[in-house]
């Protein structure tokens, strides 16, 4: 096995035993990035010299006797997390030249542990998209098939981890943006319980739905990352006081007696038969390990997409108002007056999908429509949460497909925004409720595209989800499969 395929545990062992230094590891991965990134476009920015400096610092810390699960290990951040001194674009022309003078809390916490940031990862513009095609910096390609999308919005993170450019990455998930690209790229990614991971310095799309999380090649690596990422942050009013936990502790618990619920609503029309079969096989594996599987109902789940497409654009229309051409963003040349400055800067700075969602959000909040759309959607959101409450009285984990289909070709869904929105049909309800969910690889299509299985848990059951995923990965090999990129390396 080559260095770029190592898990975090293996990397730590190698660093501890001085098989390689962090500088050597970093150099290896930077080379791999320069060889493979042109085809994948997973990185928006590669911070080579800063990375080598950080690696040297990590090596010095290790030489001084320090050790830690993440010390000296390379990673990269979704370009939605602000990084002091390194530009943060959020996949947008609007922030093409924006350099934050501060680190996001997540960035700061991982840096303190000695992780080495190799750069910033491509994403759908302002996290609005499910295919990574809305990025101003061009689409990311799926490492398993470069004519296919990697999913979105954390598509750069998923592609880079799947391609072995980095062992782990950060992502964010507002309606499936960690889980859906994880599924489409064959990696493991968890959207934690809302309030686990600080949103400070993470550019907001929809504040009540956004949650950062790790994306990695297995559940244990996710747990190692989440151990650092999850923490109460006084700078984020929505950060939970009990956010921190040890996610490794229960990782090995056997699944005997685990109550698994399979929602009927996740296996209806629109589900690709190959995806359905792989997920059913995954559920069978859980049963084989002793889980008790039962069918459940989430009757309001079919309303999740429409609820989301009221609430998320509404919050976004307000969150993105700060990008106005005045203080740090793109500014249109020679504006005629103040209104022109706003309107032109925002037309030029935002791409078509972002503009569309800002218009939808502005519309549903505007006078005369608030009750019909916004308030109504907030009520349906309550109903969706109630569905989960009822379900979790009976089961410990809910299991279903992460996505209705495997990765689709670039451009396939560009004509109809609604077709694209339906790619998140199984992931959105989780964000509306605020519960944790993760995606694990559970098979491949005949064409060789990865398939993801989604595990959903009750509030603060993140550790249980990682436990189930980890046990599943002890008995399956899907997560070990690597895309056939070697042949293209120089």
């Amino acid at each position: 096995m080559e260095l770029h395929e190592f898990s975090l545990r293996e990397l730590r062992q190698g660093l501890q035993e001085r098989d390689f230094s962090s500088v050597e590891l970093t150099t290896t991965l930077l080379k791999r990035i320069s060889a493979l990134n042109p085809a994948l476009n997973a990185f928006v920015t590669v911070t080579e010299s800063k990375a080598l400096a950080a690696a040297a610092t990590a090596d010095a810390r290790r030489a001084a006797g320090e050790d830690g699960p993440l010390l000296g290990i390379p990673m990269a951040h979704k370009d939605i997390f602000c990084t002091a001194g390194v530009r943060t674009t959020c996949g947008s022309k609007m922030l093409e030249h924006f350099v934050a003078p501060y680190n996001a809390t997540v960035v700061e916490r991982l840096a303190v542990e000695g992780m080495v940031m190799l750069g910033k990862l491509n994403m759908d513009e302002f996290a609005m998209g499910s295919s990574n095609e809305t990025s101003y910096f061009g689409p990311v390609r799926n490492p398993w098939h470069t004519d296919m999308v990697p999913g979105g919005s954390s598509g750069g993170s998923a592609a880079a981890v799947a391609a072995g450019l980095i062992p782990v990455a950060t992502g964010t998930d507002t309606g499936g943006s960690i889980r859906q690209p994880a599924a489409l790229c064959g990696i493991t990614g968890i959207k934690p319980t809302y309030g686990r991971v600080s949103r400070y310095g993470m550019i907001a799309f929809a504040s009540s739905l956004d949650q950062g999380g790790p994306m990695a090649r297995n559940a244990e690596d996710c747990a190692l990352m989440l151990n650092v990422m999850a923490a109460h942050d006084p700078r984020d009013s929505t950060s939970h006081p009990a956010a921190a936990s040890d996610f490794l502790r229960g990782l090995d618990r056997p699944l005997q007696g685990l109550r698994v619920g399979v929602p009927e609503e996740f296996f209806g029309a629109g589900l690709d038969p190959e995806v359905a079969a792989a997920v059913q096989a995954g559920i069978a594996e859980l049963a084989r390990q002793g889980a008790a599987v039962q069918s459940i109902r989430l009757p309001n789940n079919p309303h999740a997409v429409s609820t989301y497409y009221v609430l998320a654009p509404a919050e976004a229309s307000s969150n993105l108002a700060r990008f106005d051409g005045v203080r740090y963003t793109h500014r249109a040349a020679n504006p005629a007056d103040l209104t022109d400055l706003y309107q032109q800067s925002r037309y030029e700075g935002f791409g078509a999908e972002v503009r569309r969602r800002l218009l939808v959000g502005t519309y549903v909040l505007s006078a005369g429509y608030y009750d019909a759309y916004y308030r109504k959607a907030q009520q349906v959101r309550s109903l969706i949460r109630e569905d989960f409450r009822r379900a979790f009285a009976e089961v410990d984990v809910i299991v279903g497909p992460t996505t209705p289909t495997p990765a689709f070709p670039l451009g396939a869904k560009n004509a109809d925004p609604v077709a694209m929105y339906l790619a998140d049909i199984y992931t959105i309800a989780v964000n509306l409720a605020g519960i944790p969910a993760l995606s694990v690889p559970c098979g491949f299509t005949a064409a060789g595209l990865p398939i993801g299985m989604q595990l959903m848990g009750d509030y603060f059951a993140d550790d249980l989800l990682l436990n189930v995923a980890h046990r599943y990965q002890q008995e399956t090999q899907w997560h070990r499969a690597r895309p056939p990129l070697q042949a293209r390396e120089a």
Binding site: T238, A377, V380
Partner: protein
């Protein structure tokens, strides 16, 4: 529901997005599709159902009234598209 061009223009103005005239028909069509997707919400029975603004059932935390950081003006204004004498510049604001 019909999404007429005037609604698109009015909404675009509220959102401060300069949509060129030529894009309006296409945008109207897309918005109509999206609002068509959302339309099904209206039929859901929600009498007496509380609104849910937030996933957490927590109270707003309070911060002590203690002065922090500052002054970081230079670094905070480093990305400003137009600034002079410590001020952000914009076309004249007319009261």
């Amino acid at each position: 529901m019909a999404f007429d061009h005037d609604t698109v223009r009015r909404t675009a103005h509220l959102a401060r997005i300069a949509l060129p005239q030529t894009e309006i028909p296409a945008v109207a069509d897309q918005l109509e599709r999206i609002m068509g997707l959302v339309e099904e919400l209206r039929a859901i029975e929600t009498t007496g159902v509380p609104t849910m603004a937030h996933p957490l059932d927590l109270d707003q935390p309070l911060r002590p009234d203690t002065v922090g950081n500052h002054d970081q003006r230079e670094v905070l204004m480093a990305s400003a598209p137009a600034a002079e004498h410590g001020l952000f510049l914009v076309p004249k604001v007319i009261e």
